[in-house]
């Protein structure tokens, strides 16, 4: 099992579930009351090889991280019911659109849900995700990557090493975050 080297790091059935966890979608909870998204990533001082990741997306297409050597890959573990996951997803799409031509790939790994649930959720997002939404239906991948809470994101460099981590919802296209990611994009 992959364990992030934290010591080396430096830097009613429709509305009631929403009330329970998805406070961001309920009008009675003001935006100011929501926990703020983070605006920084955690750089891992001594990067380790990324664990394997080979899963199907919601269209049944298999994606293998091993095939993405040479690209910078953002691996995001999330779930539709997770409020910070929902809140950071549009910023992840904006980041992807900004840098996909320069070699950024995003793999959003839904933990523990089925295709219908994830597919229905994507229609609620603006902008809607254009990156692959993978299904980790038994949460084995999340466990293999040492994920303890959702959302958790990792950045895998073109050599296949985990170089950056983010635990908790993050504004992934924030200028400070972009500044951390850009240096690792593949060289033209």
């Amino acid at each position: 099992m992959f364990v992030a080297p934290i010591d080396r790091i430096r830097a009613g059935l429709s509305i009631l579930p929403a009330l329970l966890l998805c406070v961001g979608t309920v009008g009675s909870v003001a935006a100011a009351d929501l926990p703020p998204l983070s605006h920084r990533l955690t750089v891992i001082e001594e990067p380790a090889p990324a664990p394997p990741l080979r899963l199907e997306d919601i269209d049944g297409v298999e994606h293998d991280l091993a095939d993405l050597k040479g690209r910078l890959v953002l691996v995001n573990f999330w779930a539709t019911w997770c409020p910070p996951c929902r809140r950071e997803m549009p910023s992840m799409e904006r980041l992807y659109r900004q840098f996909k031509e320069r070699g950024l790939t995003v793999l959003a790994v839904d933990v523990g849900e089925d295709m219908d649930t994830v597919f229905a959720f994507t229609g609620q997002l603006d902008p809607a995700p254009t990156f692959p939404l993978l299904l980790d239906t038994n949460s084995q991948a999340a466990q293999d990557w040492g994920v303890k809470g959702l959302p958790t994101s990792f950045v895998v460099d073109p050599e296949g090493r985990v170089i950056i981590r983010a635990v908790g919802g993050t504004e992934l296209d924030d200028a400070a975050v972009v500044e951390q990611v850009v240096p690792y994009l593949p060289k033209p």
Binding site: G12, P17, L21, D33, S38, A79, K148, G149, A166
Partner: protein, 204 residues
């Protein structure tokens, strides 16, 4: 409301925030709150009446917002629990919990097994995640529902670099109507820190 800060060379760093009445809390905080920690205002959801209790101490923020039994019940029934099974958890005083490393000088580590609730002058550990999962297995809760339960909980242990945080459910195991103190503990560079939320109410 009581707000004090204690520092010792070897003992835990402790910051205490007691909330008994919202109005009184805000008023007294104005007088007694001071650096290095300050109390966040308590929020009350206008529709549900659920209160948020918050503390910021030693570069760390912690908040609890009660999830009312109907809300908890609905969430888990929607994810495959029978009503009877969902009722068991809904009746355990569940809070949406947020812990964030705002500005500590190093990595923060915690284990929920180090946290306690003080209720009726007795101190109790929080019910462990594994105990809940074992109970759901024994009750025949479907695998997918148990998986949803596991990931919806506040992590049993975690490490946060500055800026990192989690949000999840935390059950005290106390009956609805209880009032309790939550004692949270975390480690930074081999030093134990403690944050207390006193007199938290669990509305039934």
């Amino acid at each position: 409301m009581r707000f004090s800060h204690q520092t010792g060379p070897n003992g835990p760093q402790s910051c205490r925030l007691s909330v008994r009445h919202t109005a009184a809390a805000v008023a007294v905080a104005t007088v007694l709150a001071g650096p290095p920690s300050s109390a966040e205002p308590v929020r009350i959801d206008p529709e549900t009446g659920a209160a948020t209790f918050e503390i910021q101490a030693h570069g760390v923020s912690l908040s609890l917002t009660q999830l009312l039994p109907d809300q908890v019940r609905a969430f888990y029934v929607a994810r495959g629990f029978d009503l009877d099974d969902a009722d068991v958890f809904a009746g355990a005083c569940v809070y949406m919990t947020v812990l964030r490393n705002d500005t500590t000088p190093g990595t923060l580590d915690f284990r929920l097994s180090d946290w306690e609730v003080q209720h009726n002058e007795e101190v109790h550990p929080l019910p462990p995640l594994d105990d809940w999962l074992a109970q759901w297995t024994a009750r025949g809760v479907p695998d997918s529902a148990r998986l949803a339960f596991r990931w919806a909980q506040f992590p049993s242990e975690q490490s946060y670099a500055p800026g990192e945080w989690n949000q999840g459910m935390l059950a005290t195991g106390l009956p609805p109507g209880s009032r309790f103190d939550l004692i949270a503990r975390w480690m930074i560079a081999d030093q134990t820190y403690e944050g207390r939320l006193d007199d938290v109410r669990c509305t039934d």
